[in-house]
């Protein structure tokens, strides 16, 4: 990559951080909590974006940020009071600046309409926005700078000079007979310091006189930077009887102090003729392949990097690490399986293995923590979204954010943005009433949308709650009947009615606005969340508001699962979906319809499905009375009892996605590798349950056809 291009990438990355810092600061200013350092940080962010933009010639961006910077400068120096109105303009300017950065990143093709905001900023600063480009850098010729006197002095006392060792090495035939290799010996000398090798071929006879098992070569080696004669001798320790060896020492004059003292004005020490130590290190003679000595000793002086900052790690590297640890876990599992199989009373072994397992688990957690990030990066985009949506719909909205430091895997964060955007828009557009309606209903004109995140039970819960009108259940019901989604006489609970809005093709907005109605329905949001292994639920109280709750796994790399046996196959059920496991009595199993079954679980009937039959597993038991039943709960569709042959155990498995190779299969989420090296499929409970539900409803589905159930 062109170096400038690489720096540009750095610039845009840095812009993202600066924009976030800027927005954070502006929001603090909005709530009146900003101290002078926060205000200065906002100024600095705008200033830095401008400065970098100038280096890459983003003139429009620079022009806009200049006006913005001028306004921030006035606020910073106390000449402009950050009243709510002023901050509102600044916030909008921040949004525009972010658009400008995006436009510049996309090659400047999308024009940003900033005239209005620019005019408002100019009103604050009293500057004419038209001639507000960055002023041409003036030269201050009149300013006299202090004459330069740079003298750092002798900061690096030279190490005591090392002699040069001249080694003459002439192997006898016996050396070769004992399978010694001169090349290796010379290479070892090269480990002690830079060497210069010349081969002495003077003894080499004509080809006719050459005895193949005689030795004719000798080498002269000059070795630098090795203070110790014995080190040189040690190299030849094992061949001393089989060669002629001469080691002579050449004294070296103490070198002039390392070329470093600059003293003005002549700066002699920077001159090129003052360079004894840096003479090029010996190059080998062309025909002398043996001189390919490692130049370890030539390592450039390293400067200690004192920057203790967060590092930017290429995600690929981290992924590789995560993958490796995953493999390690599998290996450990395989190992313990084999040892348990072969050693009956291996108590000490198993104690060691237990420790290994413990350590590995810890290591895995630590490695995966590298990938986690606070949800802040997604949450931070929401204030702007709320501002814009509110402006478009004429509503007054306050956004409250809680738990933005909650950490979750980066892949989850990346895929959270879209559903969250949709839900927030939905809350403002459909959830909240207009100010007039709110006042009429006895509520404050300003509506509240609350976005929160927290860890609960190994998962992350994200909630979007509004204090709007709530779901109008009779309207939802009407609509669902109209669309043929439910039958007119269906008896649904409030919760079931609320969940109807997630069905494909459902839209309750009387008028399709250009905000929420962008062709993406809540069904897509739900699909996205389910693809992440999460669930979405809605709660609503008429007139008081609604609340969407997202439950997501913290990582997409591992899963706590229950291993079950079905016929010849082994499956993994995600632990998060399991409620309990039980051994049913045959009296509890009731036939239902033509081939459906119900299980009586303490008085409640739950659909019972044999996993073996459903997936047509060879060798599966069909004797339900002898099966183990696992009660699972699926998102939205309710509970279901899955009959399996036996429970094998419970463990953490590494998820191996096969979607890129095989594609999506309903009912199967992914695969994993078990301790015995076999592949086991991880069941997608939601898919399974949904498939079965549709099946019992009598509608043939793709899923049933695919499985032949």
């Amino acid at each position: 990559m062109d170096p400038m291009e690489a720096i540009k990438q750095t610039y845009f990355q840095e812009c993202d951080e600066l924009l976030l810092a800027m927005e954070e600061g502006l929001i603090a200013m909005e709530s009146g909590e900003a101290d002078s350092e926060t205000i200065n940080a906002v100024f600095r962010a705008v200033h830095s974006i401008k400065g970098g933009g100038g280096a890459f010639g983003f003139e429009i961006l620079v022009g806009f940020s200049h006006v913005f910077e001028t306004a921030m400068d006035l606020v910073r120096s106390g000449k402009l009071d950050p009243t709510p109105d002023v901050v509102k303009v600044l916030l909008r300017a921040g949004d525009k600046l972010s658009d400008h950065v995006t436009a510049a990143r996309n090659g400047g093709s999308d024009a940003v309409d900033d005239a209005e905001v620019k005019a408002e900023l100019a009103k604050l600063t009293g500057e004419d926005p038209e001639d507000a480009g960055a002023p041409a850098p003036a030269d201050f010729e009149g300013l006299a700078f202090a004459p330069v006197m740079i003298d750092i002095g002798d900061e690096e006392p030279a190490a005591p000079p090392c002699p040069i060792w001249h080694v003459r090495f002439a192997p006898h035939a016996g050396l070769y007979a004992k399978a010694n290799e001169p090349y290796l010996l010379i290479r070892e000398l090269g480990m002690l310091g830079p060497i210069e090798v010349t081969a002495d071929l003077s003894k080499l006879p004509d080809l006719s006189a050459l005895e193949p098992d005689q030795a004719y070569f000798a080498w002269n080696v000059a070795l630098k930077d090795c203070p110790d004669r014995t080190k040189v001798e040690e190299v030849f320790e094992f061949v001393s009887g089989d060669c002629d060896l001469e080691i002579t020492e050449e004294k070296v004059e103490a070198a002039a102090p390392a070329a470093f003292a600059i003293s003005a004005p002549g700066l002699p020490s920077l001159d090129d003729d003052d360079e004894p130590a840096a003479a090029p290190v010996a190059e080998a003679q062309p025909e002398e392949k043996k001189a390919a000595a490692p130049a370890a000793a030539q390592a450039a002086p390293t400067t200690v990097d004192l920057i203790k900052q967060t590092i930017r790690v290429d995600l690929d590297k981290v992924d590789r690490l995560v993958n490796l640890v995953g493999e390690l876990v599998i290996t450990q599992a395989m190992l313990s399986q084999r040892i348990l199989d072969s050693v009956q009373q291996g108590q000490t072994v198993s104690a060691g293995l237990g420790e290994l397992e413990h350590l590995l688990r810890e290591l895995q957690e630590a490695v995966m923590a590298i990938r986690t990030q606070p949800v802040k990066s997604v949450f931070q985009r929401m204030p702007r979204l709320v501002r814009e949506t509110a402006a478009q719909t004429g509503k007054e909205v306050r956004l409250e954010i809680e738990g933005e430091t909650t950490e979750v895997d980066k892949t989850v964060i990346e895929r959270l943005g879209e559903p969250l955007t949709h839900m927030i828009r939905n809350a403002v557009d459909h959830g909240l009433e207009t100010p007039a309606e709110r006042v009429a209903a006895g509520k404050p004109a300003e509506g509240t949308v609350k976005l929160s995140a927290e860890h609960r039970g190994g998962r992350i819960i994200i909630e979007v709650a509004d204090d709007g009108r709530g779901i109008n259940r009779s309207k939802v019901r009407e609509k669902a009947i109209e669309r043929g989604l439910i039958s007119p006489n269906a008896n649904l609970s409030d919760e079931e009615i609320d969940n109807l809005i997630f069905l494909p093709g459902f839209s309750t907005a009387a008028t399709v606005s250009n905000i929420s109605g962008r062709g993406v329905g809540l069904d897509v949001v739900r699909r996205n969340i389910m693809d992440l292994g999460g669930r979405i639920t809605i709660g609503s109280a008429n007139g008081k508001g609604s609340k969407f709750s997202l439950t997501l796994p913290l990582t997409l790399a591992v899963l706590d699962g229950m291993i079950v046996a079905v016929g010849e196959q082994t499956f993994v059920l995600p632990l998060s979906h399991i409620i309990e496991s039980l051994l049913p009595k045959s009296a509890d199993v009731k036939a239902f319809g033509s081939n459906g079954m119900l299980l009586n679980v303490r008085g409640v009937y739950v659909p019972l499905v044999s996993v073996g039959r459903l997936l047509r597993v060879p060798g599966a038991k069909y004797d339900l009375a002898n099966s183990v039943v696992i009660l699972v709960e699926s998102e939205g569709v309710g509970r279901m009892a899955l009959a399996v042959d036996a429970i094998v155990g419970q463990r953490q498995v590494v998820i191996k996605s096969f979607e890129s190779n095989i594609g999506h299969i309903d009912g199967i989420a992914a695969a994993t590798i078990l301790g015995d090296g076999r592949v086991a499929l991880i069941l997608d409970i939601d898919g399974l349950v949904a498939g079965c539900r549709e099946g019992t409803g009598g509608r043939p589905t793709e899923y049933q056809q695919a499985l032949g159930a």
């Binding site: 003036a138 006197m149 750092i152 470093f260």
Partner: protein
């Protein structure tokens, strides 16, 4: 003629992009020993541990600004001989004047070119090879 490759430089700017740009320009001029610091206090202690010939520093930085940094350098007997070039975002005559009073050796207005940077360096070190 002094060799550019022997000049030890320290670059201080809170912005990674700027540090990288300065480094890139310096490398094009021929410098090889370039250390970067996002904050002045870190740079100050690093300079005490291992001096440099020239410092490029931004003005507006959190914790310690460029002038404060310059003053700390000039008031430390072991560091006061170091060359100091102030990087400024705009041609702010007052700022440059104050920098000159504090003992800056030169200034550089962002954005800058390699040619301008070389010229400023040569005003300090003489023609570079």
């Amino acid at each position: 003629m002094p060799q550019a490759s022997k000049i030890r430089a320290v670059v201080v700017d809170d912005q990674l992009t700027m540090r990288t740009l300065v480094r890139s320009c310096l490398q094009q001029i021929g410098l090889t020993d370039i250390r970067e610091f996002p904050k002045a206090p870190e740079a100050l202690s690093a300079l005490k541990a291992q001096p440099a010939h020239i410092v490029f520093s931004d003005f507006n930085m959190p914790e310690m600004d460029g002038l404060e940094f310059l003053r700390s350098i000039r008031s430390d007997p072991s560091l006061k001989g170091i060359g100091f070039i102030l990087l400024t975002g705009r041609a702010d005559a007052d700022l440059v004047k104050r920098a000159a009073q504090f003992g800056a050796n030169n200034y550089l207005v962002k954005p800058f070119t390699v040619a301008v940077m070389k010229q400023k360096l040569e005003q300090i070190f003489g023609a570079l090879s």
